[in-house]
Every structure is written in structure tokens, then in C-alpha cells.
């Protein structure tokens, strides 16, 4: 079984990966309240994962277009600038 076929099989559950990492990030952000730089780094990791996930998800789904990726990039940028403004 190739990696691609495995990924395709698990495709419908892919969103759970984002949800799981988001929950881990949420716990870390709450626990690391006294360390805003670390909080931001953790959040940055989530954003990198989110963008990578989006790329793979839409590639497998055959719905990867420039407009779709721009939606992810702009959402990620909005989340980042707002978090940066509050934390750093």
C-alpha cells in the first residue's frame, strides 16, 4: 500500500488532524500564559501545520487552486497578525 493510497483512504478523517493539533495548541497557549513568546511560537507551529495540511488535503481532493490556497494564506495571516498584536 503506497503512502498516497493510505492518505486517500484516511482523507475523510483528515480534518481530525487539524482539530487534534488545535486542541493541543489551545492547552499549550493556556498553560504558557506567562511566556508570550513561547505562546506565539506554539501558535506559529499550528499555522504551519494548517497550511501544509491545506495543501495536502486539496491536492488529494483534486480541488487545489490558487484561490483556495489564498483563502488559507489570508486566514493564516489574519490569525497571525491578531495573535502577534496581543502577545508580542
Amino acid at each position: 500500500m503506497t503512502i498516497r493510497s493510505t492518505l486517500l483512504k484516511l482523507h475523510k478523517y483528515n480534518f481530525l488532524l487539524v482539530l487534534a493539533l488545535a486542541l493541543v495548541t489551545l492547552v499549550a497557549v493556556v498553560k504558557l500564559q506567562s511566556l508570550p513568546q513561547v505562546q506565539f511560537l506554539v501558535f506559529l507551529c499550528l499555522i504551519f501545520f494548517y497550511l501544509t495540511w491545506a495543501l495536502l488535503y486539496h491536492k488529494l481532493d483534486k480541488t487545489l487552486t490558487l484561490e483556495v490556497m489564498l483563502e488559507y494564506i489570508l486566514t493564516a495571516l489574519l490569525a497571525l497578525v491578531v495573535a502577534y498584536g496581543a502577545l508580542l
Partner: protein, 296 residues
Amino acid sequence: MALHHWFIPHKETHKKAHFLSLEAFAAYIFLFLALQFSFHVINLVKPGVLGITSSIEKQDVIRLTNIERQKLGLPTVVENQVLDKAAEAKAQNMFAENYWAHFSPSGKDPWSFILGAGYKFSFAGENLAKNFSDSQSVVTAWMNSPSHRENVVNGKYKDIGVAVLDGTLNGQNTTLVVQMFGTTENLANLPSSPPTVNVGGTNHTLSVSQLEGIKPLATSLGTEQQSSQKVLVNQYMVSKSFGLALISLVLVLLLVDFIVLKRRGVFRIASHHLAHMVVLGVAAATLLTANPGSIL
């Protein structure tokens, strides 16, 4: 252009609401960055207008510090007027030289304030805090940081001095809290043991040359808490509220878009609503838990 098209997908084309378009996202980002930039400009042009409102009391900081020590069965520390004077001199120097650090740009170190005030210690320590809204959050932040906790719950200390001063730091109206600990007891029981200072979790053992270079502090210092300068705009709250408003707007519109498309039974090649909502939800939670205060 119909008003509802700004909030819900188009009835026929099923195109996203205008407020969810790429242009709208770019506008949100631009608006937030413009707000941050305007804060920087105001801090440069009109220093002291922006800042954080605070209600920190010196006696509360000492009381809460002692509560933390008592929890661990340690003896309480007693307020020392000379250490108060040293802490106040340190805070005043931070405003005068405009720095946020244990060591001043001109080379003044924490022990020069303690020894300069006339407190001949064998062991001392310094904790700093700024931009907290109340005394409890200051002490909690110190307790959550291992290097600051080391000072708060250090059994060697007998005395404490605290200064809470308002002033302008980097153009922003700031409340500084300086906490100094010390003991005059000879802990090593050696006649020539050098004094040691714990600064940011690092112990600095003072040399003879460092001790000889200490000058006494000017006597013009008072021990009263400096009166607070009126903060016109709490930039942190404005930034936080605006960020939360933007994220909430996008979250609600994404939810509406998701529900409307499901009801219409329409498939649209687009990004994953739930993934966006999860990431923006974490950003909102980060905003809610963020604190403007920082410790050193």
C-alpha cells in the same frame, strides 16, 4: 449591491458573502496592521497617551509574596525602608534611561542601587514587572516563572523592598514594579564571603572592585508610590477588542456560509470551513488569555 450579499452566499451563484472574500480578508489584515502602526506613531509623537491602566499596591505585592512563602513553610520577609528606597531608585532610573532590563544602558547594575541605598547585603535578588493590571497577576506571573519564583520563595531572604511607579517607557504609559529581596546575615559564616545577587535566575558574586565602585544614592528619593499619570487610551484593550471583533465576524460568517450551503445542497470548490474556524478559534482563545504584563 444588496446588503445581504455582504453576509450570506449569493442566492444563484452561491458565491461567498463579500465579507468572506479575499479582498475582505486583505482589508481585515490591513486594518489591524494600520491600528498597530498608529499606536507606534502615537507613542513616538505623543508619549504617555497610550498605556495600561493599573491598580497595583506596594503593600499588596508584599502581602501576596509572603502568602506564597507561607504556603511553602518559609518565614515571611519584612518590609525594609532602605530596600524600598533602592527599588524606587531602580524604577526611577529605568524611566530616566528608558530601558526594560536588569542592567541599565549606562551600565548600572541592580546591586549598585541596593548598596547605594545603604543596604549591606550578603545575598540579594531582584524581580521586575511591567504593564500588569493588579498585584495578584504580578505575583502569579513571578511564581509561574522558575527564575523569578527562585527569588519569591528563597528561604535566605529576610527583607523585602518594593516600588510601584508610573511613568513613560518607550513612549507608553507604564506601571513598573521593582521587587528587591535581601539579607544582611552572613550566610556562609566566613569573614570574607563576597555578596551575591540573584538577577533573572543567575547568581552574580560581587568582586572587590565592583563593591568599591558603588556610589551612594541621591537623597531626593521619596518612599511614596508615585501618582499615576492618566492613561487616555488603553492600547492593549483596543487592540484585543478589535482583534476579537474581526475574528468573531469571520467565524460567524463562516458558520453561516457552511449552514446555508448545506441547506441548499450545493458543492463549491473552496477551502475547508471547519479548518478555518478551528484555527481562528485558537487565535481568539489566544487573545482572550493574553496578558499585557511582562516580567524580567
